[in-house]
Amino acid sequence: MEDLNSILKGCIVNDHKYQKILYEQYYNYAFKIAFRYIYHYDNIPEVVNDGFVKIFRNFSGYIIKDEPINEYNLLAWIKKIIIHTAIDELRKNNLMPEIGAMPDEAWELSDQHGQADQGLLYKEILKQVKSLPPAYRAVFNLYVVDGYSHKEIAALMNISVGTSKSNLFKAKAHLQKIFKKDSDKMKYAISE
């Protein structure tokens, strides 16, 4: 098993062997990030792969630091590039609303009782977030989950700061409305 430093050094010199190891180690992480932005489950691998191509193409500028900062940095960098790639993909499709259901086999549910319930809840929450219109969904995820500021979101999505704030407000209102309808389920989840 190669340590992270060796992998990073290998990637910096474009060694395909180490690139493959890095890809395999962080594919799941990248996939889960892209999943929040990309509506269709089947389209996610392509976005993730494009993101990794960008990562490997730009690895020569990566600065290796000491552990554990090294991995935090790497995760943050992967996250940033995958988000940017996903946003590019959304913009390529002009942020058009999408339809279609998530296949059930896409979900990974725990066998343990408590975790299974929690898993169901999270699954439901993610489904609802994904059901938001792409522009709202992107702003909501960027602001709430990934910690971007409105200024950064505006720059990334090529919108105004006001539009970003407005989209966030509408996204939250939309989600509140949806969650209200299913309040019993939510109450149960929160009490857990």
Binding site: K32, Q176, I190
Partner: protein, 405 residues
């Protein structure tokens, strides 16, 4: 229960963190192919730009040589012209011939000897006083009748001061040093001729010459990445066919360093395992180069030569050493190999060059020669199409049989 915004945000964050989605579609091959394709595309774009850069550099260096030559040539010509003074003691000097311009149709056979000078004296020159320079004379005679250039207008009746017929002719190379006598103005008035003494010199020049040259050599395979500069050092020997055209050959010890993409290197002699794909090769090659070039002097005078040359080179490959990487089942391996006297390549490279020579001693000349070498076919064990460029600097020395001008 009323859900507040904070609750929603927290829940979404938790859901995102413990995202129960199954990741699918991990496909390293697809990423690998995209990476390789992008690399190829960028390499191709880079190659294209390098190709143009290569040609541009060559043209620029040739242009610079040309400009340099003409600046020096003009300066020297002006200096020569300004130094022309009327010398009353010309008759006392040896090795000076006097050309008299007159309207007499003298049938003296020596007139024919002066026929070779008509290139210089297309208009007659009339000296007015002892301080008149040739520049002024030329300006004054700018409208003179061009028919004066005819040799019939030259008379030998007023020619004096030469020791014999042989000394009267002048070398075409040389800027004529013309001096106008004014010792006896009444004599001039009497003859109404202008006497122009011409400094004469040996009319022979050596036909063989040799030059010792060395310089850096930059090589590239298909105009891809350039690794480092190699070098070229050797001797070239030339033979003057005419005043402007020469044939040059010689022997050079070349070391060429280069990097090649796997696709441009034939991997048969690397004996890679089955299902391997050569990714890149980096190495050097020591060779003996035997060029055969035709040289043409574009502009020439006593002190400077500007020339262009073209020809073909043959290579005797002495040693090749390569570090290479290859992939096999998506795993990268590195290795190296070396070869001795692997191949001899006859006339497989085109030479194009331009150069500049400046005389630095009585016989020796400093030579600067930028060049490009373009492959006609592959070279070495990898059958690579190796292009090179560089600049050779050295000295030239004439060493044998003389030629008449």
């Amino acid at each position: 229960m009323q859900f507040r915004n904070d609750h929603i945000e927290d829940l979404v964050r938790q859901a995102a963190e413990l995202n129960p989605i199954k990741a699918k579609g991990a496909d390293w091959d697809s990423v690998f192919n995209k990476l390789v394709n992008k690399e190829e595309a960028s390499v191709k774009a880079e190659e294209k730009s390098k190709k143009y850069l290569f040609l541009l550099l060559f043209l620029l260096s040739s242009l610079l040589c040309n400009e340099f030559y003409y600046i020096l040539y003009n300066n020297q010509s002006k200096a020569n012209l300004k130094n022309i003074n009327i010398n009353p003691s010309l008759k006392e000097k040896n090795n000076i011939g006097f050309i008299a311009l007159s309207n007499n149709n003298n049938k003296n056979p020596l007139v024919k000897k002066f026929g070779t000078l008509k290139h210089y004296y297309t208009t007659p020159v009339y000296a007015q006083d002892a301080t008149t320079t040739l520049l002024e004379l030329v300006e004054k005679n700018i409208d003179a009748d061009a028919t004066h250039e005819k040799t019939e207008n030259l008379s030998v009746s007023d020619v004096s001061g030469s020791n014999g017929n042989e000394n009267i002719t002048s070398t075409l190379h040389e800027d004529p040093v013309i001096k106008i006598t004014d010792e006896n103005s009444t004599e001039n008035e009497k003859t109404k001729d202008q006497i122009i003494p011409v400094k004469t010199k040996s009319a022979k020049e050596k036909r063989f010459y040799a030059a010792f040259l060395l310089g850096p050599d930059i090589s590239t395979v298909k105009f891809s990445e350039i690794k480092a500069a190699g070098h070229s050092i050797g001797i070239t020997v030339g033979f003057k066919l005419t005043k402007r055209i020469s044939v040059e050959t010689g022997a050079f010890l070349d070391q060429k360093k280069y990097v090649a993409e796997g696709e441009y290197f034939k991997a048969e002699k690397l004996y890679l395992p089955d299902h391997s794909k050569l990714l890149n090769v980096s190495g050097y090659c020591n060779m003996i180069e035997i060029p055969l070039n035709i040289r043409y002097n574009i502009a020439t005078n006593n002190n400077y030569n500007l020339f262009a040359l073209a020809g073909l080179s043959s290579y005797l490959v002495q040693r090749e050493e390569y570090d290479y990487q290859y992939s096999r089942y998506n795993t990268i391996y590195s290795s190296n190999k070396s070869y001795s006297k692997s191949s001899n390549e006859l006339f497989n490279v085109i030479n194009l060059g331009a150069g500049f020579e400046k005389r630095v001693g009585k016989l020796t000349a400093l030579r600067i020669e930028p060049y490009v070498k373009l492959p006609v076919k592959g070279m070495g064990v990898g059958d690579m199409r190796l292009s090179s460029a560089g600049i050779l600097v050295g000295v030239r020395y004439p060493f044998s049989k003389k030629m008449d001008q």
